[in-house]
Every structure is written in C-alpha cells, then in structure tokens.
Amino acid sequence: MSHYLFIQSQDPFTETRTHHQFDLIGQLHDAGHKVAVLLVQNGVTPARRGAKSDLFDDLLRWGVTVRADQFALAQREIDHADLKDQVGVADMDLVIDAMLAGHKVIWH
C-alpha cells in the first residue's frame, strides 16, 4: 500500500480533464492505497455545499480524505460552514508533511 496526496487545482466545471483525474484518485483508493486530496485554487469549488459534481461527490462517498486549502477558500469567500460535511480545511503544511513522510505527491 502506498500513500498518495493529490493537489487538485483544477475544477470539474471548467476542466474536462478532471474526469480522468478523479477516476485515477478513485481507482487508487479502490486498489487499497491510502489516498488524500488537497483542493487548491479553483479546485475548491466542488467542495461547496450544493455544488453538483457526481465525480467529486463519489470520492467523498467512497471515503477518500478531502481537504480544502483555507487560503483558496478565503479568496473565494467560502466559509468552512459552506463546505460539504466530509470536506476538511488544511494549509500547505499538509503537502510538505506528506512530502517529508515520503508519500507520493501529485499535482493535478
């Protein structure tokens, strides 16, 4: 089992490639790997409560750990209370800690 952290900067509403990115994340999770996602930049937009993205919501439903960058949230005036229940809040420290722990960190 490997540890993966995906830095998700692209959003499913404007970037069609996120379909394949979310597929990859889901497949690694299905394969038994420990997978986490940090949403950054416009990547935070599907985390807003009420945002409709089946692919993103599947990741939450399957139990993939998803965090949203608090800086990106603040830039977009998204409060923590506006996030879907399964989405936590994090900072860049999450990425650095994963890199220092030897996890596979991948930019999307």
């Binding site: 950054v40 860049m92 420290d93 990425v95 220092l100 030897g102 960190v105």
Partner: protein
Amino acid sequence: MSDTKTLTFAFMEPPFESERTVTFFRLLDAALDRGAGVRVFAYEGAVALAFARQQPHGNAVHHRDSEEEDHPLTKDWIAALQEKAGSKGIGFEWINCGLCVDERGVSDVIEGCGRGGPPDLWRYASEAHNTLTIGTR
C-alpha cells in the same frame, strides 16, 4: 552531519500569469517553515520568476502610483525566501534551465539563482527526500 531533509520542486509557470505561482511560493514558504531544505528547478516560463529587471508599476485605473499599488514581484519573493532560509540555516537553491533562459532573454537574474539544465533536475530529484513537479495544466 545535518539531518535536514531536502525537497525538490520543478516549476514551469511564468510570473504574473496564474494562481499556480502563488500556490508554488506558498509551498516553498511552508517547506522552510517545516525546516526542510528547498531546491527549485525552474524551466520554460518559470525562468523569468528570478529576472532581475522586473519593475513594479502603478495602476492608473485605480489612481494609484507605484508605491501605493505595491505590485508584487516574484524576484522579491525569491529573495525573501533566500533570506528566510539563510536565517534558519537551511539550504535554498534555485536553478534556471539555461536553454529556457536564452530563449526568453532573461539571463539577468537576482543573486543566488543559478543556471543549469535538465541534468540538474535529475541530480536534484535523485538527491532529494521527495520531489514535486507542478505542470502548467
């Protein structure tokens, strides 16, 4: 012998274009906060991040002069990270891809940023505790 872990970052985004640049610099800052050494291999448009002749400007639409506008320059962000790393006694290295520099005519870079090529990225990645590549897409 130092037990500082070094992280390598490969970045290709030009300055003043994308939110990725801000995220990238936040990552470097967070790495230094964690006490990690940092090595950057800048290629393609990212070689202009360290261009020494970047200039701040005013904003006539907002009736602000250069000082009021306080336009951020990436060369200053790099210098600030160099200073931060120095104050912590940890490494901060920056190499620009020489071919990319020549194509863009941005060889005049701030002190502390070097010139190299893909073998340096290989060396940086091989010697690093971990490496993150940030593509433009």
